[in-house]
């Protein structure tokens, strides 16, 4: 094998080693892969859900109020009153 061919093999081997090292580092083998949510994030999600529910209830309440609700039927009678309305 000539020196020229040996240098080519060495260069190819170095290139291969470089890419293998790169791939190994990029894979972050030192980090844990467990992605289970911890208690804090679960609480945050629950709080967010509650807030959404409250917002929805508030919107519903306001939209109900916006609807014109007709006054109930009422009439004047000569019967004695059971109770009395006055300035409260």
């Amino acid at each position: 094998m000539t020196d020229h061919v040996r240098r080519l093999y060495l260069a190819a081997g170095a290139l291969l080693a470089f890419f293998l090292a790169w791939a190994g580092i990029a894979a972050h083998p030192w980090t844990t892969t467990s992605a289970a949510p911890d208690a804090a994030s679960a609480r945050a999600v629950a709080l967010y859900e509650q807030r959404l529910q409250r917002d929805a209830a508030l919107l519903h309440s306001l939209s109900q109020q916006k609807l014109a609700t007709p006054a109930p039927p009422v009439r004047i009678v000569t019967l004695p009153p059971l109770t009395t309305t006055r300035t409260s």
Binding site: R75, L79, T85, S88
Partner: protein, 284 residues
């Protein structure tokens, strides 16, 4: 007929429940609910949620305060500002700075005007925040709203009526409710909904020799001078009736209030300063 009377929210509360004795615990529950809501929403209790809001300018509100403030803001919009929960400082300036039982009937000091229509924001779903110098009073709606709330529970046992110092909510059968007028008492009959009276014939005092009362006109920031003595209105609920009665009382006079009640189809009984009584909104 089961009945219960008790003192709450600075007034007398009457409850009528058309049911047998087994429903008696519901009356206890109703009384407790009035006390609980008063503890949350009274501006005269330093530890109430409302007082904390007024003191700190912001609070993470519970569902009751949140709902009532939201309803009040909606009512302010619908009544073009006649009903306004931000009249707190105007009431205090007028002399209503403690429970009415303790308000001095003859006060020194000049009558004053305080700007209303304050900024109130609901943020992040439940955080109430007041603009600078804004404080809230819920006295114009809380009794009717609590009557509605209690009525909902009572109605599980039978027809019921709740009268919170004149703010009435009823359901389930025909109920006869009297309205005081200078000439004669008038009895109205309704099956469900609410009935309320706003006026300056009660809860009044003198400040600097001038008569003051508890109905603030938000456009002037002072006790209203409208030519009306009282306005009684019928609504779909006790809270709605309170809002309508206040709105008609501040309509600008007897004729204007009657026209508005007719136009909006709000059954109303209006009493002028001179004692004249007008029925409007289809009431006859």
């Amino acid at each position: 007929m089961l009945t219960r009377s008790f003192h709450a929210m600075g007034t007398e509360v009457e409850i009528f429940l058309d049911a047998d004795g087994k429903a008696e615990p519901l009356l206890d529950e109703a009384e407790s609910e009035f006390e609980r809501i008063e503890a949350l929403l009274s501006r005269f209790r330093p530890d109430s949620e409302l007082s904390r809001l007024n003191r700190n300018g912001s609070v993470e509100a519970g569902p009751e305060l949140l709902e009532l403030v939201s309803l009040s803001l909606d009512a302010r919009e619908r009544t073009q500002g006649r009903f306004d929960p931000t009249v707190h400082d105007a009431l205090v300036a007028a002399g209503y700075d403690r429970t009415f039982e303790d308000v001095e009937r003859q006060q020194s000091g000049a009558p004053s005007q305080v700007a209303c229509a304050g900024d109130v924001r609901v943020e992040a779903g439940s955080v109430l925040t007041l603009g600078r110098g804004t404080r809230i009073d819920l006295g114009g709606i809380a009794k009717g709203w609590t009557a509605d709330r209690v009525l909902e529970t009572l109605s599980q046992a039978g027809p019921a009526l709740v009268n919170a110092g004149g703010d009435v909510a009823c359901t389930g059968r025909s109920w006869q409710v009297g309205v005081e007028t200078p000439a004669r008492p008038i009895t109205l009959e309704l099956e469900n909904g609410g009935l309320a009276t706003t006026g300056r014939d009660r809860r009044r005092w003198f400040r600097g020799g001038v008569e003051a009362h508890h109905v603030i006109d938000p456009s002037t920031g002072a006790p209203a001078e409208t030519g009306l003595l009282t306005a009684t209105a019928v609504g779909s609920s006790g809270a709605e009736a309170e809002v309508l009665a206040t709105s008609l009382f501040l309509a600008g006079g007897l004729t204007q209030a009657a026209s508005e009640a007719d136009a909006r189809g709000v059954p109303a009984l209006l009493v002028g300063d001179d004692g004249s009584t007008v029925m409007a909104g289809g009431l006859a």
